[in-house]
């Protein structure tokens, strides 16, 4: 993908041809880089090229002899099949909802944790813990231990206040998946935003306070602009991971009830329906979506990066 835009420039370095000693030294500098580069290109780029090729074939692995070139037919089918189209939409909804909710919650928590209070370190540790539960285990915890309509913790607590006893996953399947992901990703956002808050210019804030600025004015005009890049970074890194989410969808709803996102659909199309061509076309679409996010992500990371390089 992006490899095609950046690799050629780096793969064929133009070096001053001033004798073989110079060239030897250039290769000596480059040598430590090569094992990692070669390994990555073989293991990540080659399979993607293969996916691209397979996506142009009508190929069901149960009927291997009936394999034929199909042109763009698979893409047409992916884009017109109601289930697959729905999974595109689900992916967008899931990613946007989880990233936004965990960013807002993470920001609130970071603002709370930015102040000194007794036991701050312990609270920080408690808040990080959800991010450090194995994703499948977290999904199982939400599915069986919290959401279960008969003996789950949520309905157990509702029981105390005489509330209703909803069947959370059947009633709001997508929201159920999203809530569990928000619980896991809020700590991640909080950590990034907290680091952002702590890198503020405190003298500037003191000066504003002396000049009579209110807490809200300071937040609106000093803190928020400073945090913008950190919010962008959190949103983009979060998107990259959540767009690819498989664990929560697979565990909580098994892709049922309209929660199948693209990664789950790709998995199901080739692993259960054995439609290799279709699955590859859907996979290529996921990649195109990721490239769009990635382009923005790379821009944000590189702007933070230049700022850091400029400082040192």
């Amino acid at each position: 993908m992006t490899a095609t835009t950046t690799a050629p420039r780096t793969a064929t370095p133009v070096r001053a041809r001033s004798g073989s000693g110079e060239r030897l030294r250039a290769w000596a500098t480059r040598a430590p880089l090569l094992p990692a580069l070669v390994f990555l290109i073989i293991v990540t780029q080659l399979p993607f090229v293969a996916t691209l090729v397979i996506s142009f074939f009508d190929w069901n692995s149960l009927y291997p002899d009936a394999r034929s070139f199909a042109g763009l037919a698979n893409y047409g089918e992916v884009l017109t099949d109601p289930d697959l189209r729905r999974s595109v939409w689900t992916t967008v909804l899931l990613t946007v909802a989880v990233v936004l909710a965990s960013l807002v919650l993470g920001l609130l928590l970071a603002l709370l944790l930015d102040r000194r209070f007794p036991g701050r370190g312990l609270v920080r540790t408690l808040l990080i813990a959800p991010f450090l539960v194995v994703p499948v285990a977290a999904a199982l915890l939400w599915k069986h231990v919290l959401y279960n309509p008969e003996y789950g913790l949520f309905n157990g607590l509702l029981h105390y206040v005489g509330g209703p006893q909803p069947d959370w996953i059947s009633a709001t399947p997508l929201l159920a998946v999203e809530a569990s992901l928000v619980w896991q990703w809020t700590p991640f956002m909080m950590l990034i935003l907290l680091a952002g808050l702590q890198s503020r210019d405190h003298q500037q804030i003191e000066a504003a306070r002396v000049d009579g600025a209110s807490d809200w004015q300071i937040f609106r005009h000093l803190t928020l602009p400073h945090l913008r890049r950190y919010l962008e970074l959190g949103a983009l890194l979060g998107s990259i991971y959540i767009v690819q989410n498989f664990d929560a969808v697979f565990t909580i709803t098994s892709g049922g009830l309209g929660t199948a996102n693209l990664p789950y659909t790709v998995y199901q199309t080739f692993y259960q329906a054995h439609e290799n061509g279709l699955a590859s076309a859907a996979g290529v679409l996921v990649v195109i979506g990721s490239i769009i996010i990635a382009t923005f992500a790379l821009r944000v990371v590189s702007s933070l990066f230049r700022e850091e390089a400029g400082r040192s």
Partner: protein, 274 residues
């Protein structure tokens, strides 16, 4: 009134911390309850404690033992982390301390491969493994987990190595120190905590990984997350067992995460945030 105003954020933070931790605390408590006490409504907070859930999970009284899966996960995460370090350390060196020309382009190429979703290459990898007889083989997973973590590791490690002041390295070289000595005496002490944090984060990602493991392993090379997927469909009263399993399998990640806590943000944000 002033005291309330002053203490409110702290109290609110404590409240939020407890709310976020509650599911984990409840999971831990439930894992020590008997199956019948675990599945009551309203919940039995003060029920008698027992190790039955853990006994069930470890298959003491029959049933599938989780040990092969735990061992597979340990092998996959430890070996892939080691491979990642072996490949990423020299690469990070060539991108920070003694940078190649156009080193930022190379750095961004590494990052771009991470943005290629797993599903994009899953099918060809599956077909290759099937034809090469590598399905259900833990070493294939080791290679894939290495490729999954390598780009992030290069970024993290570059950010940690870049913190070593160039002046110190040059001073050591002027004093006649050779490269191995410089690396051991000057670079390693400064970069070691960062390298350790990178290793811990790679370990976590590998231990957690499900999609590759689910598609490419079966009976023999099954990893711990794949073992957990056996609990997706309800099997009567099994909450205590599920909680025990989830907790035991999450323990290495919790331990690694808390060990890397100080460097966690810098690592996870690929060095963009200090």
């Amino acid at each position: 009134m002033n005291a309330v105003r002053r203490n409110a954020p702290g109290l609110l933070a404590w409240f939020a911390g407890i709310v976020f931790f509650l599911p984990i605390a409840w999971m831990a408590l439930t894992s020590f309850h008997s199956e019948s006490d675990a599945a009551t409504n309203p919940p039995s907070f003060a029920a008698a404690l027992t190790l039955d859930g853990y006994r069930e999970f470890f298959g003491v009284d029959g049933g599938a033992s989780p040990w092969p899966a735990l061992i597979n996960s340990t092998v996959a995460s430890l070996v892939s982390t080691l491979l990642v370090l072996l490949l990423a350390l020299p690469a990070a060196y060539a991108l920070s301390i003694r940078p190649v020309r156009k080193w930022t382009d190379v750095l961004f190429f590494f990052l771009s491969t991470k943005m290629l979703p797993v599903v994009a290459g899953l099918l060809p990898i599956y077909l290759f493994a099937k034809n090469a007889g590598l399905l259900d083989n833990i070493w294939l997973l080791v290679v894939l987990h290495t490729s999954m973590n390598l780009p992030i590791a290069v970024w993290m490690m570059r950010s940690f190595l870049a913190e070593v002041p160039v002046a110190v390295i040059e001073a050591a070289q002027l004093d006649g120190a050779r490269l191995p000595t410089v690396l051991r005496r000057v670079v390693a002490p400064i970069a070691a905590p960062g390298i350790a944090a990178t290793a811990l984060i790679c370990f976590i990602f590998s231990w957690n990984e499900l999609l590759f493991a689910r598609v490419l392993t079966g009976v023999v090379a099954e990893t711990a997350p794949v073992f957990l997927t056996g609990f997706i469909t309800s099997q009567g009263l099994f909450l205590a067992k599920v909680c025990a399993a989830s907790l035991v399998i999450s323990l290495p990640v919790l331990a690694a995460g808390f060990a890397a806590q100080d460097k966690l943000v810098q690592g996870l944000s690929l060095g963009a945030v200090k």
